[in-house]
């Protein structure tokens, strides 16, 4: 990997802004009857998830367009103990220009950016500064990420501090024990408090699905988080042994669909962790499109939490333009 990144200034305005002004999900009273009635049949969900990639595919210009869409939905992420301002600035530069300008030009596309940059609290000011004027939101992971086991008071305070530092999106983690113990009221109250602390910042609720034990729990936790006012529900911290999968995604987006049908509010979805291939990204987009519709393919309702996905997409896009398979070093590092 290259370490000396070029900080080329963004020459033109981004072609689109991620926010489409969907009315925010205000949440609702906890409806325990609804939560209890939720079912998720693992085998059937797995079968649907397994056959979807065989049912849906995009080729040629369609594939290029879909991959560009995926880029605009990426929350470009660094969540490492060794993050430094320099590292974060490099990432932000990549977020501003995720795809080489000559490739975009060949595709007849204006400039695009990633959906957001996602960092730890300490890195928020650096990211905000690096992204000033771009319209790219800074997301902060919060509430004792990744385990969420620090004192509740501090977790709420952490949100407030990140918002004060300029984060416009907060990725909170839920207390997995509330799900595992079936304590939906506690989960609701917790997420509700987080949402209040977020204020104007959008809240993504990380379920850490790899630690919830069953898809039924995933479905029920998804619903409770939406009732508590989550703007997005998100699969994973990236630190669990199992992160985003298609079956988990199907379970969560079906919950989103039911919530929309019942309340009229659209909640976003963010699979995170383990999505590193362009083909996988296309499968996620197809699942979103088939289960929720094209409205959910915009960055205000869909994000990938990913760090290495972008590199693979860049190579595929260059292949589309040149007809030759590409190499990682031909694309600027992030």
């Amino acid at each position: 990997m290259k370490t000396d990144t070029q900080h080329s200034p963004a020459g033109t305005k981004p072609a689109q802004l991620p926010q489409l002004h969907e009315q925010r999900n205000p949440g609702m009273e906890l409806d325990l009857d609804w939560v209890a009635a939720v079912q998720a049949n693992t085998s059937a969900i797995e079968r649907r998830a397994a056959t979807l990639p065989g049912r849906r595919t995009v080729k040629k210009a369609y594939q290029a367009a879909w991959l560009l869409k995926a880029v605009t939905c990426i929350d470009l992420t660094t969540l490492s103990g060794d993050d430094t301002p320099g590292r974060v600035r490099r990432l932000c530069a990549k977020a501003r220009q995720p795809v080489r300008a000559d490739i975009l030009e060949a595709l007849g596309m204006g400039p695009i950016t990633t959906g957001a940059v996602c960092v730890y609290h300490e890195m928020v000011p650096t990211a905000v500064e690096a992204l000033a004027g771009t319209g790219i939101p800074v997301a902060a992971v919060s509430t004792g990420f990744p385990a969420g086991l620090s004192p509740f008071r501090l977790r709420v305070e952490e949100i407030r501090e990140s918002v004060a530092a300029g984060a416009s999106e907060i990725d909170i983690v839920i207390s997995r024990r509330h799900v595992l113990l079936g304590n939906w009221q506690a989960l609701y109250d917790e997420v509700r408090s987080f949402r209040e602390a977020c204020g104007e910042a959008h809240m993504k609720a990380i379920l850490a699905t790899g630690e919830l034990g069953s898809l039924r729990n995933v479905a029920r936790a998804s619903l409770v988080c939406m009732m508590a006012g989550a703007d997005f529900i998100k699969t994973s911290t990236g630190k669990e042994s199992v992160n985003a999968t298609l079956p988990v995604s199907l379970t969560m987006i079906r919950a989103i669909r039911d919530y929309h049908r019942r309340t009229g509010h659209r909640v976003g979805y963010k699979p995170a962790g383990g999505i590193s291939k362009a083909k996988a990204a296309l499968n996620y987009l197809a699942m979103m499109r088939d289960e929720l519709g094209t409205r959910w393919l915009e960055p205000d309702l869909f994000r990938f939490g990913a760090s290495s996905l972008l590199g693979d997409i860049e190579r595929q896009l260059e292949h589309h333009v040149t007809g030759r398979y590409s190499a990682a070093w031909r694309h600027p590092a992030g």
Partner: protein
């Protein structure tokens, strides 16, 4: 559209699979084909065109087989069969393995050719049909390998005539050819005239595998060729998959010919959704149930039966899902629904929906192409069981729907059909699912799933969906027979009426035994029964068709027997043996009087009858089902269920032992029996009902009639509420039984005029168990 437009609309766009290789393969053969007979392709003759239903383009011209062609194919198969069977399991396994590998190596060519010819989406032919074909040959390579060790008493049937449909052309070929070859048979196969191309490509693979000449023969043509195969005198077995109507004609045509027969026919399979189901998954399941292969699937979940409380929400979700189905070019990799196989089929679907749709509310989704044979996915709600489309098989992408309130009502609605192929049950309650599965009249039940298939799991129907199983160990029964010594059976006449009868003792009145009661015959006639020495032994009632009606009704009413524990059934059969033993002297004397045999011989028959009762009491709780090794996380249970109501013409020659040899296995497995006693010597049977009366046999489980086999055979075999008919009679009734059984397509087991030694092991064993049971495959995927 350019990239930035697509970036906004996020359309899917075309994603065509290339057909270049498949077209080249056809072009290399000048798009004309003969038959595949004796290892070689014949010169193309007069024929018909095979078209791509999606475009109407001619793919090839095929040859309509003549009688000479069929004769040549059968002769080639006959010549090859002995050597093929003698080659041994391992030799046959090697060829089947080679065929499996060749299918895999040419998987994409097969898939594309299948889609071109049939119109099914390339996703299905690529991901479902062809992999299942390879799996079937692998599995049966193993069956060939194991046959000698595991089925030492089974032998091949000989030359098998196989007629397959157009909905899964190559897969149905595999289901027919693989088990036949594995067990040492040779075949003459006729693919459907719409879809013969993959069979001809398969013929090429047979050449590449070096399969001995004549082992596989393929003749093409329409139904007339099928008729030639069915009628051919040198064919030993007919296997047919197709419509119930044609299946019925084949049953009639083969009646009395001695040909073995298995039929896999139509269906109107229920798809039951309980209110505690994962609704989204149940909705998605319907996509695989009724919009799989354009709904042209015999086991399609075509009758939605949804719990009333969730019906509205379910239909709403279903309609939304239907809007997302993509219909169009079957070669497009991003298509859910392709073309209907032929304009004729499209017309049938259209007319049926026009006729019956008015009874409910018709919803259709999606855009269909302007050209080609397409029909939109259709849901018809608000129908009742009495509606035309709730009863008739449409064989298209049309789902009909009704509601239920309770599990019992769901069962009643699900079973309210002439068919019995498959059923799906959706509930998260394991108690409910496992309670429903045995109560549904179907050969296959899927729990929280649909249309799962595997070579290791039996597939086939009951009722008018046919008989016989394909796949699993039970599937081998369709291509083998037990080695049982039989000999020609001469008609046994009653002892002649003497000029002057010897009258002895107090008159004893024999009656019919129906529903646990002794009843006089409806007709009011009896026949005097004499001993060979002219002694008047008594009068046997002459049952008529109304007595049959009454007995069948009693048997149907005794359905609780099927649900009794096997332990209880065993106890009762032991108890029958005990009570028979207590009266052994009486029966010995009776047999001696009736037949004139030596007292020692008569005693031997009684002793054997007691032993036989013990055998079947022993089996009652030991004919276990199996959990099949299917490639899912879950189990496919092969459950041995009673067939139901069995009509049986008992052996004439062994008045007591024959009766017991027939009744005991039947009731041991939970069936109810209408047994027609030995015609010449009926009084052992009428004595025997007294034993039944003292042995706690519930009323209606065993019913005994006496009278003329010839007269009763058409009525018992023709009764639409009888599930199978057996005949061991010395009267010539095999043909009429097979012919009349076509009415409800019941199973039958007839002796074709050959008898067996009832005192020998041939009078019992696994052959009886197989005929007394249906294998139901219950798929239970699991995982939380």
């Amino acid at each position: 559209m350019n990239v930035s437009d697509i970036f906004r609309t996020m359309d899917y766009g075309p994603a065509p699979e290339s057909d270049a290789e498949a077209q080249a393969w056809l072009a290399e053969r000048n798009r004309t084909f003969g038959h595949f007979i004796n290892g070689a392709f014949t010169a193309p003759g007069k024929g018909f065109e095979s078209r791509n239903p999606a475009t109407g383009e001619r793919l090839a011209t095929l040859t309509q087989a003549t009688q000479e062609d069929v004769d040549a194919a059968v002769a080639a198969a006959r010549r090859a069969q002995g050597k093929w069977a003698r080659a041994g399991g391992h030799e046959r396994a090697k060829y089947l393995y080679a065929l499996a590998r060749l299918v895999q190596k040419n998987a994409r060519l097969f898939a594309v050719l299948e889609t071109l010819d049939n119109g099914k989406p390339i996703r299905e032919s690529r991901d479902i049909d062809i992999p299942l074909v390879a799996r079937h040959f692998y599995y049966h390579a193993g069956m060939a390998q194991l046959m000698e060790a595991e089925l030492p008493d089974a032998e091949p049937l000989g030359v098998c005539g196989q007629i397959i449909p157009w909905n899964f052309p190559l897969l149905m070929l595999a289901w027919k050819v693989a088990p036949a070859l594995a067990t040492g048979n040779t075949v003459v196969l006729k693919p459907a005239e719409y879809t013969s191309l993959t069979a001809l490509l398969f013929a090429r693979m047979c050449q590449e595998a070096g399969l001995p000449r004549g082992v596989v023969n393929i003749v093409t043509g329409d139904g007339r060729v099928g008729e030639m195969i069915v009628a051919h005198p040198d064919i030993d077995k007919i296997a047919f998959t197709g419509s119930t109507e044609v299946g019925r004609r084949i049953r009639e045509a083969t009646a009395g010919s001695g040909k073995a027969l298995t039929l896999e026919l139509g269906g109107k399979s229920p798809y039951i959704v309980f209110d505690d189901a994962d609704i989204d998954s149940a909705v998605e399941g319907l996509v695989d149930a009724i919009w799989f292969n354009q709904g042209q699937v015999c086991c399609a979940g075509s009758r939605l039966i949804v719990q009333e409380g969730i019906a509205e929400r379910f239909h709403e979700k279903l309609k939304a899902r239907m809007q997302g189905l993509r219909i169009g070019n079957p070669l497009d990799k991003c298509i859910d629904i392709g073309a209907v196989v032929d304009p004729v089929q499209l017309k049938t679907i259209t007319e049926m929906v026009e006729r019956g749709g008015k009874e409910g509310e018709v919803f259709q989704a999606g855009q269909i192409p302007n050209q080609g044979c397409y029909y939109p996915p259709t849901l018809i709600t608000g129908l009742e069981p009495a509606s035309y489309l709730m009863q008739e098989e449409i064989f298209g992408p049309v789902l009909v729907s009704t509601t239920f309130r309770t599990p019992a009502e769901a069962v009643a609605l699900a079973n309210n059909t002439r068919y019995g192929l498959a059923a799906s049950v959706w509930t998260e309650n394991v108690n409910l699912a496992l309670d429903m599965a045995p109560r549904l009249v179907a050969g296959v039940v899927w729990v929280n799933a649909t249309n799962l298939f595997d070579a290791a799991a039996g597939f086939g129907g009951v009722r008018e969906s046919g008989f016989g199983r394909e796949g699993g160990w039970e599937g081998l029964r369709a291509y083998t027979r037990p080695r049982v010594a039989t000999r020609p059976l001469k008609r046994i006449a009653p002892a002649p009426v003497p000029d002057e009868a010897e009258i002895i003792g107090l008159d004893r009145t024999a009656k019919l035994y129906i529903g646990g009661r002794q009843v006089r015959p409806d007709g009011g006639y009896s026949r005097p029964v004499f001993s060979p020495r002219g002694k008047l032994l008594g009068h046997a009632p002459l049952a008529n068709r109304k007595d049959i009606r009454n007995a069948v009704e009693a048997a149907r009413g005794a359905g609780g027997w099927a649900g009794a524990t096997a332990h209880l059934r065993a106890q009762i059969i032991y108890y029958i043996a005990e009570n028979l033993s207590a009266r052994a002297d009486d029966f010995t004397a009776r047999l001696h009087d009736l037949t004139g045999v030596h007292a020692k011989t008569a005693r031997a028959e009684v002793e054997c009858a007691i032993r036989r009762l013990f055998t079947w009491a022993a089996w009652a709780d030991k004919y276990d089902g199996a959990a099949r090794a299917v490639p899912i996380r879950g189990v496919a249970l092969a459950m041995n269920e009673p067939v139901g109501v069995i009509g049986a013409f008992c052996p004439d020659e062994a008045p007591l032992l024959g009766l017991i040899s027939v009744i005991a296995p039947a009731i041991a497995m939970g069936n109810r029996v209408v047994a027609v006693a030995s015609e010449p010597w009926p009084l052992a049977a009428t004595d025997f009902y007294q034993v039944l009366d003292t042995s706690d046999v519930p009323p209606g489980v065993v019913n005994i009639l006496t009278g003329s086999h010839e007269e009763l055979a058409p009525h018992l075999a023709g009764h639409l509420d009888v599930d199978t008919v057996w005949s061991f009679s010395s009267s010539d009734i095999s043909a009429v039984i097979e012919k009349e059984s076509a009415g409800n397509l019941k199973r039958s087991w007839v002796n074709n005029g050959r008898g067996r030694d009832w005192l020998s092991p041939a009078g019992e064993g696994r052959e009886f168990l197989a005929h007394a049971t249906e294998v139901k495959t219950v798929w239970v995927p699991y995982g939380e």
